[in-house]
Subunit: 169 residues, 2 copies
Amino acid sequence: MKTEPKIDVNADIADPVVRGFSDYLDAHDMRKTPERYAILNHIMGINGHFTIEELQQLIEGDGFRVSRSTVYNTVELLIQAKIVRRHVFEGMVAQYERITLPHTHLICTSCGKVKEVRDPNFAAFMNARRFNAFNADHYSLYVYGTCSTCARKSKRIRQSSDRRDKKLK
Amino acid sequence: MKTEPKIDVNADIADPVVRGFSDYLDAHDMRKTPERYAILNHIMGINGHFTIEELQQLIEGDGFRVSRSTVYNTVELLIQAKIVRRHVFEGMVAQYERITLPHTHLICTSCGKVKEVRDPNFAAFMNARRFNAFNADHYSLYVYGTCSTCARKSKRIRQSSDRRDKKLK
DNA sequence: ATGTATGCAAACCATTTGCAATGAC
DNA sequence: GTCATTGCAAATGGTTTGCATACAT
């Protein structure tokens, strides 16, 4: 269906993550389509969380057309390949992030902003932690509260029903 | 719309949680309907997580008719009242639980079962933890992995695609 | 050439909403 | 008697699916 001349979506082929994805595709007899590389490359440029909507807009903003289904399919593929993780925070649409070093998610229940903080102590604690009759693979720690920006606002405004962040439902 | 004679939905009025809910309703000028008490009372009888579907079936199994909307509305109300919490684990429909002592959720990615484990060390750690420019209210720790039952199964069956638990999408 | 991946539109399904009827106050 | 709450049915919206076409191999 695509009739456009290909853009250079394979630019970052030297990147170990891209390499890993490529190997994953090989190992599973899957095809190396420009869409898949375009999606992965754009995800690598994102620092933090993103929604499917935002990811598609980012890619298409670069003049590369992808269907919504392909974005969903490929992100799912990246999850299987353990490159991406999916999160659903309270009251928000699904968000995704590239898997990096373990970190805690701070979610502001007022504006919906999500911040990651590294916590080596906690990581060490979890690393050592063993569970009865359960073999842990990975974990997610979500901390809900109020960010300083919203805290400042609510000092002035009594009951803020400010939900301008589009990630909030 | 209900034409049935009322059943004794206020049975547990002595319970501090029910009392708290009652006070909450008073404080917010909301009405004390039999549906609200029936829903709360049934939630109190559940040990662990439940879906909206399961909750409604439990209530109606007791011969008390409630609409799906009312279940959703009331559970949302209980969330506002800080009696119930909502969780969305990877690849599952939303689940709810009564707020109790802090605990870790162990989620089996094979069968979807969720187990809670108390971890006083972790709770103490989180209690002491402070974040920059962020005022924490509550947190959720999800640990994904394989339960012993599924681990045993996969020793025999190579690639189990067993997803019989209805909570898995 | 072969069969997988894409794109589109339709289907899905949990959740939300609008509104008339009910019942808590 | 009022007006919040219920129940129903319809709407919503993120996600999935079916199928014809394109293209990676």
